[in-house]
């Protein structure tokens, strides 16, 4: 009976931390990209995502406002996954610096 596991179930158990983390990022993006074209975030969806899901990581709201404003100037105010990834990268960089100062 033990041999009857589906291949998918076994795969799922072996997901690495990195893969699970990536999955979480994708899931969050999709959770908030519900209006209109579902592969992009509108500026209000982005604002909701950042305030609700990144309360500790995102820099002060001024910077965020600026980013959202910049977003409005191109691409009809929609953020694709790649640009979302870059934005998260900015937040991740602040984690990196924090990490380094704690080490030293």
């Amino acid at each position: 009976m033990g041999q009857c596991h589906s291949a998918n179930a076994e795969d799922a158990q072996e997901f690495s931390d990195v893969e699970r983390a990536i999955e979480t990022l994708i899931k969050n993006f999709h959770q908030y990209s519900v209006e209109g074209k579902k592969e992009t975030l509108t500026s209000s969806e982005l604002r909701d995502l950042v305030t609700q899901q990144l309360p500790h990581l995102m820099p002060g709201s001024c910077e965020l406002d600026e980013k959202i404003a910049n977003l409005g100037s191109c691409n009809d105010s929609k953020l694709e996954f790649g640009s979302f990834w870059e934005l998260i990268g900015e937040a991740a960089k602040s984690v990196k610096l924090e990490n380094m100062t704690r080490r030293n």
């Binding site: 893969e19 993006f29 579902k38 609700q52 500790h56 996954f81 790649g82 990268g89 991740a92």
Partner: protein, 105 residues
């Protein structure tokens, strides 16, 4: 980092990706806080067992690594690492969305 309370799932995921970078930073290198290309390959093999399984993805990853080292110093900075994972992740995100939409129809 992880002991901080009240972090969201998304924040913990970002922390996991950042600490994964530091896990592969070369300890002996004189240049600090960068990953060698050989360590990067090790990382891709070990940490992406599902996402880079088929050869097509692997070839794409090889190409990404080639293009990645923008300043040609043979070392991967955090920014380059983040761009690489973004390059792997974006097509997957699209695919998942397409599959979801097909399932809804």
């Amino acid at each position: 980092m992880a002991e901080e309370e009240g972090l969201t799932e998304l924040e913990l995921a970002i922390y996991a990706l950042v600490s994964n970078f530091f896990k592969y930073v070369s300890k002996r290198s004189l240049v600090r806080n960068k990953i060698s290309k050989s360590n990067l390959r090790k990382m891709l093999q070990k940490e992406f067992p599902h996402m880079l399984t088929d050869t097509r993805n692997r070839k794409a990853a090889d190409k990404l690594i080639q293009n990645l080292d923008a300043n040609n110093d043979g070392l991967i900075s955090f920014e380059e690492y983040w761009t690489l994972i973004g390059g792997i992740t974006s097509p997957i995100a699209k695919l998942i969305r397409q599959q979801e939409q097909q399932n809804c129809d």
